[in-house]
């Protein structure tokens, strides 16, 4: 059985999987330089993904039959879509790179944990809150 991400799917709902960018020849110097300059560092050895749905693929052989299970989530938080890698294992548990030692019984628990662990990343902008309040008043 293998668990991996589906590559190069086509269609509107598919997840675009680009080839990984070429890693800098010296990852240490590259990362150090950016961090010292106050800049972020994204993983270079990982495939880049467009925002949008992702698809985890499980391939299992059972009694001479090959079973393939595709799992695709479309996740929005406060109406904003979130991409990235979310994997499902044989037990149906869900995991993501941001919390590498965790696995969750459902994607709901994963997203809740993300919000708990990275609260600053999910802070609502004041304008969003104002707009929502305005919409409620107009109803």
């Amino acid at each position: 059985m293998a668990s991996h991400h589906r590559k190069g799917s086509s269609g509107k709902r598919s997840h675009t999987h680009k080839p990984p960018s070429t890693p800098p020849s010296d990852l240490l110097a590259y990362s150090s330089k950016r961090l010292k300059a106050g800049q972020s560092v994204a993983a270079s050895g990982h495939a880049e993904h467009d925002k949008g749905p992702f698809q985890s693929v499980r391939e299992i052989e059972y009694n001479g039959h090959k079973i393939t299970i595709y799992t695709q989530y479309e996740i929005k938080v406060d109406g904003k879509p979130f991409g990235g890698h979310v994997y499902v294992d044989n037990m149906g548990k869900v995991s993501a790179h941001a919390l590498p030692n965790y696995s969750f019984v459902s994607a709901v628990d994963l997203v809740k944990k993300m919000i708990d662990e990275f609260p600053d990343d999910f802070t609502k902008k004041k304008s969003d809150q104002t707009n929502n309040a305005t919409k409620r008043r107009m109803r």
């Binding site: 080839p19 990362s31 993983a43 993501a96 790179h97 590498p100 030692n101 990343d121």
Partner: protein
């Protein structure tokens, strides 16, 4: 001559040297344009974790696959080398934290065990306010954040104290019985790793890493139980990271010796999808510079890390 790695709770000298050493590494710069030597381990760990092998798969260059144990063994050997250098003590051996011994305590006593007291690693908190790594004594310079619009993490510079959330996300540490089961599983036909070579494998590596049979187990459970900075891909931010991995390495060494050095798997006949994990594949390095890695120069294979008896031994299994 091989150094001896000891239980941090049984030797106050090695404890004090470890604490002094990691703090010295935070002030140590091997090259002007590099991060400090301690933080290099954080950067390396992040990039290894985010290097899917092959691209698109859950397995990465240092986790969720066969290379998990040798890759972290390499990391510990280099940390030990740099600690020996800054401490000017070639006999210094990394300490380990035998977390399964604390796992024998009642759940409500585990977070007040000796390891979390003032003289050892300090306690829990956002920020940690006790012990040698409390606010003002230890600085987190690099943290993991979400990439915009994604659940995938990026590294960002920061300047903040250490965070821990002991027992918040897991009620218990692993127990001695759980460790014993993993070491003896399948005896006498023990298996280092097995297809599909990922978190679904029924194997010693996968059980010790903590994906099977009940996640989070063993190594993963310790990360989850400690929480805070031990959670994300930048988990070496907490010096407890290395105490955990030294204990994981000790369990692997116990397994190897107890069973007469079973073969590392996969061997070189495995397909290219397992590149980076096979016996003679090169493991994921962060630099080939001798300054950081004077031992292997960034070029090391699992095969080079199976017999480490010339470098170190453990005081007890």
């Amino acid at each position: 001559m091989a150094v001896t790695r000891r239980n941090i709770l049984g030797d106050s000298n090695v404890r004090d040297k470890y604490i002094e050493g990691v703090k010295l590494l935070k002030q140590d710069f091997l090259k002007q344009d590099w991060a400090n030597t301690y933080d290099i381990f954080i950067i390396w760990h992040y990039h290894a974790m985010m290097t899917a092998t092959p691209p698109g798969w859950d397995r990465n260059a240092a986790h969720k696959g066969p290379s998990f144990l040798p890759w972290h063994r390499w990391m510990l050997i280099l940390l030990e080398h740099h600690l020996q250098r800054v401490l000017d003590d070639p006999d210094f051996g990394l300490p380990y934290w035998d977390w399964a011994a604390d796992g024998e305590l009642p759940a409500n006593q585990q977070q007040t065990a000796d390891i979390w007291t003032e003289d050892y690693m300090g306690g829990s908190g956002f920020p940690v306010t006790t012990g040698p790594f409390r606010d003002g004594q230890w600085q987190v310079n690099i943290e993991s954040r979400r990439a915009p619009g994604s659940f995938d993490p990026i590294l960002v510079p920061t300047n903040r104290p250490l965070r821990r959330a002991l027992s918040r996300d897991a009620s218990n540490l692993p127990t001695k019985e759980e460790v014993r089961r993993s070491v003896l599983r399948g005896e006498p036909n023990v298996v280092y790793d097995a297809t599909p070579w990922d978190p679904n494998s029924t194997s010693f590596r996968n059980e010790l890493e903590g994906w099977w049979p009940d996640a989070p187990g063993l190594h993963n459970r310790v990360h989850v139980w400690v929480g805070g900075d031990m959670g994300p891909a930048t988990s070496p931010n907490d010096p407890v990271f290395f105490l955990n991995h030294c204990n994981v390495d000790r369990i692997w060494e116990d397994w190897q010796q107890r069973h007469g050095n079973p073969p590392y798997l996969p061997d070189d006949s495995a397909g290219t999808a397992l590149r980076g994990h096979r016996l003679n594949d090169r493991l994921f390095g962060i630099t080939t510079s001798e300054l950081f890695d004077p031992i292997y120069r960034g070029r090391v294979r699992p095969a080079d890390l199976l017999d480490v008896s010339a470098r170190y031994i453990y005081d007890v299994f």
